[in-house]
């Protein structure tokens, strides 16, 4: 019964896979060659990235004035993109941490790629605050370090500084969590690699992982503790991002609902991005047996829940804006004014993409339809971008004084940088999908007997207590006593082959026998192995050692491989001392 799982649960690994099949399937995309489609998509992504890079260089060299910002809307695309990317970066840690704590086994197939997505998305997010500083070479000013202004420290009361700590902690902890999980999988690739270059690279990447039982025990506990730490961390990060708005006095921003609603929205958009990426990846890398339709349906269920929270929050905000009776609330991003004003299209894009379209996932047929899921996931990504755009631009566009009301229109630089980060993200993800084990194969193997269809079928056919393995064909046992005897005689041969050198040595330093042997291990550089070799030659006592001169050490150097000749200058002294005791 050690591998029992209720038969009603659908298998998480299909295709009759054994342990070795898992290895082969996960290693295939790395060991094979990239196909044409990969190169086409990679080229497009690279081009977009270079385009964005050009826009960033233009921004930095000319100034933030090249963006579409104006006196009223002094924060727009940059912060929208920042929040959008951080939000996407939430699903990975949620899958790897929260679902680990809840012992959800289906996470094993998707956690690696979701975490990779998280890291790449947070990298994109981190770019925006640095670019929008205008002088990115002064980015270190956000760090609490002694400085040239007479130790004028950073302001720890500011949510913007909390962001610095939250994002950098989140990025670095996610990276470490991801990398630690990768070590055994890199080791698998390393041990399969045939080309010396690959072997070397994956050898370095795997940190020399050997899979000892103590390492695994620590690995599992470290994973669990990291999951426990990452869970509040992931909630804190988007909470703090929402503080950037919630602690201000702008109508529509100073809202206590922001932290939970931002977190739910982040998970909502993150899962949508995971769906977008994995639906493509499972096809391109032939991983349909690991990322099954059931996985996609389960993720769709998470999307329903978080989308429901987000929808409820929208309706609450809308209701409160009306119910408060405050004229300032008339044009917050969720209000009657927003729905009918000049930004009506942004308002309805948000409602349609984030509430109405995802409602289709309540139907099981739609949830399990891969094409529809893919479309919905892209729609949600667009909708969540509009959510941030609405919060930022709509709320700013009609503030407390009508004379400052303004509209925002982005320039090609705004758009270019955003497209550039999407390109950068896909460049990183495409490189990852060809060089990293995209599924945590060690973890999948550990649940294979529970949830693999091969073993579920065995239990169904023969009962829950069936032995789930066949005894291997045993190789005949060699005669170890003979083997050891042969090895030892070879060693003795070495002494005899030395052409009487050993006899000459003993003649010079005097004979001794095993009965009067001293502990030669106390001499510097002598371990049990060397002591045994010395004994074989006939050197047993400190007295003999103290009789040795340069000439005798030379003989020993010839007789014994890896003889620590540099240490012998101490031996005579040490032997004399030890002899007196």
């Amino acid at each position: 019964m050690s591998h029992y799982e209720a038969p009603i649960r659908k298998p998480l690994v299909t295709g009759d896979k054994s342990y070795h099949d898992v290895t082969v399937d996960i290693a295939r995309p790395i060991e094979g060659r990239a196909n044409k489609l990969w190169w086409i998509v990679f080229s497009i992504a690279l081009f977009a990235f270079l385009w964005g890079l050009g826009c960033i260089i233009y921004t930095v060299s000319t100034g933030i004035g090249v963006w579409g910002l104006n006196n009223t809307i002094e924060w727009a695309w940059d912060i929208t993109n920042f929040v959008w990317w951080v939000g996407i970066g939430h699903a990975g840690t949620l899958i790897s941490a929260v679902l680990l704590l809840f012992r959800q086994r289906w996470r094993m197939a998707v956690n690696r790629s979701a975490e990779a997505m998280t890291i790449f998305a947070v990298v994109q997010a981190g770019l925006f605050p640095i670019i929008h500083m205008g002088r990115p070479w002064l980015a270190y000013w956000v760090l609490p370090i002694p400085n040239q202004f007479g130790s004028l420290w950073v302001n720890f009361n500011s949510p913007l500084l909390w962001d610095v700590f939250a994002i950098s902690t989140y990025l670095s902890v996610s990276l470490v969590f991801w990398y630690t999980g990768l070590l055994p999988d890199f080791a698998m690739i390393r041990d399969r690699a045939k080309l010396p270059f690959q072997k070397k690279i994956y050898g370095i990447l795997s940190f020399g992982w050997s899979g000892r039982m103590k390492d695994w025990q620590r690995f599992e506990e470290v994973s669990l503790v990291l999951a426990g730490l990452a869970t509040p961390l992931v909630l804190s990060v988007h909470t703090i991002v929402s503080f950037d708005f919630a602690t201000s006095v702008v109508p529509g921003w100073h809202s206590t609902i922001f932290p939970p609603y931002f977190v739910a929205g982040a998970i909502f958009s993150g899962f949508a991005m995971v769906q977008t990426l994995l639906i493509i990846m499972r096809k391109v890398s032939n991983l349909e047996n690991y990322i099954t339709v059931d996985h996609i349906e389960l993720m769709n269920k998470v999307i329903i829940v978080t989308g429901g929270i987000v929808g409820t929050a929208y309706i609450t905000e809308f209701f409160i804006a009306w119910y408060s009776g405050s004229p300032y609330e008339d044009y917050t991003y969720l209000s009657f004014g927003a729905a009918t004003g000049p930004y009506w299209w942004a308002f309805w894009a948000l409602i349609i993409c984030n509430i109405i379209v995802p409602l289709s996932l309540w139907w099981k047929k739609m949830r399990r339809n891969i094409m529809w899921t893919f479309i919905v996931s892209i729609v949600i990504n667009i909708g969540m971008w509009f959510e941030r755009f609405d919060i930022i631009v709509l709320c700013l566009s009609k503030g407390r004084t009508p004379s400052t009301w303004a509209m925002f229109s982005p320039t090609f630089v705004d758009v270019g940088i955003f497209i550039g980060t999407i390109g950068f993200f896909f460049v990183l993800f495409l490189l990852y999908s060809r060089s990293f084990p995209v599924i945590a194969q060690a973890e999948v193997k550990s649940i294979l007997k529970l949830s693999g269809d091969r073993y579920k079928a065995m239990r169904e056919a023969q009962g829950d207590d069936v032995q789930l393995y066949e005894l291997p064909k045993q190789q005949p046992l060699p005669d170890f006593e003979k083997l050891i005897a042969e090895q030892e005689s070879q060693q003795e041969d070495v002494v005899e082959e030395s052409g009487g050198l050993a006899e000459k040595l003993i003649l010079n330093i005097g004979k001794a026998s095993k009965e009067v042997a001293d502990d030669l291990k106390r001499l510097s550089g002598v371990g049990p192995a060397l002591e045994e070799k010395l004994n074989q030659i006939g050197v047993y006592t400190y007295n003999q050692i103290s009789n040795m001169t340069e000439k005798e050490f030379g003989i020993l150097d010839e007789l014994i491989q890896k003889f620590p000749k540099s240490k012998t200058k101490f031996w005579a002294g040490e032997a004399n001392l030890l002899n007196k005791k």
């Binding site: 290895t23 902690t169 020399g208 050997s210 025990q217 194969q441 050891i484």
Partner: protein
């Protein structure tokens, strides 16, 4: 006299667990087991002590919290108090609500990173470290148990391991 190590190779985790239990009850010493994935219950069956990684993490977390409190008290209260929107700049405890986010973040930062570094150091894994699994198949689908033997009982231990159903039994070359 010289000690010898026998390596028994298995193809399945359940089979390995059975062999580990038999080896322990047969009063043979298991030196090491190499597995391609975490086999649940193996550490207990092989008689390993529980790991203390979680305890170190807790201690590092407390350290991180202490560093955060010390740092913000020094910078915001002691060294250069500033009037920011009339917030209390003279007392750490009164200004603390604004410091809670960073106190939390640094606690997590220290607990996570220092624990992982401890794990890497204790398990001796770092870049350019050479792998020490004796057989490359142990990262794929094979399981290897190392059992120590004396010169005079090598053969009997090997026969014992053979009887547990090991696919191959070999002598470790020192």
């Amino acid at each position: 006299m010289a000690n010898y190590t026998l390596q028994a190779l298995y193809e399945d985790d359940d089979h390995l667990m059975k062999a580990v239990k038999e080896t322990r009850s047969g009063n043979h010493h298991i030196e090491e087991v190499y597995t391609p994935f975490p086999v649940h219950g193996l550490d207990k069956a092989a008689g390993l002590k529980p790991t203390r990684m979680a305890i170190t993490s807790f201690m590092y977390g407390v350290l991180g919290l202490g560093v955060a409190i010390w740092m913000m008290n020094f910078m915001m209260i002691d060294d250069w108090p500033r009037n920011i929107g009339g917030k209390p700049s003279f007392s750490y405890i009164q200004n603390m609500p604004a410091f809670v986010p960073i106190m939390f973040e640094l606690t997590v930062f220290f607990a996570a990173h220092l624990m992982v570094i401890t794990f890497y150091m204790r398990s001796k894994i770092w870049p350019f470290k050479k792998a020490e699994n004796p057989d490359p198949r142990t990262t794929d689908d094979h399981f290897l148990m190392e059992v120590s033997a004396e010169k005079n009982n090598v053969q009997s231990v090997a026969e014992f391991l053979h009887a547990t159903g090991a696919k191959e039994v070999t002598l470790k070359q020192s």
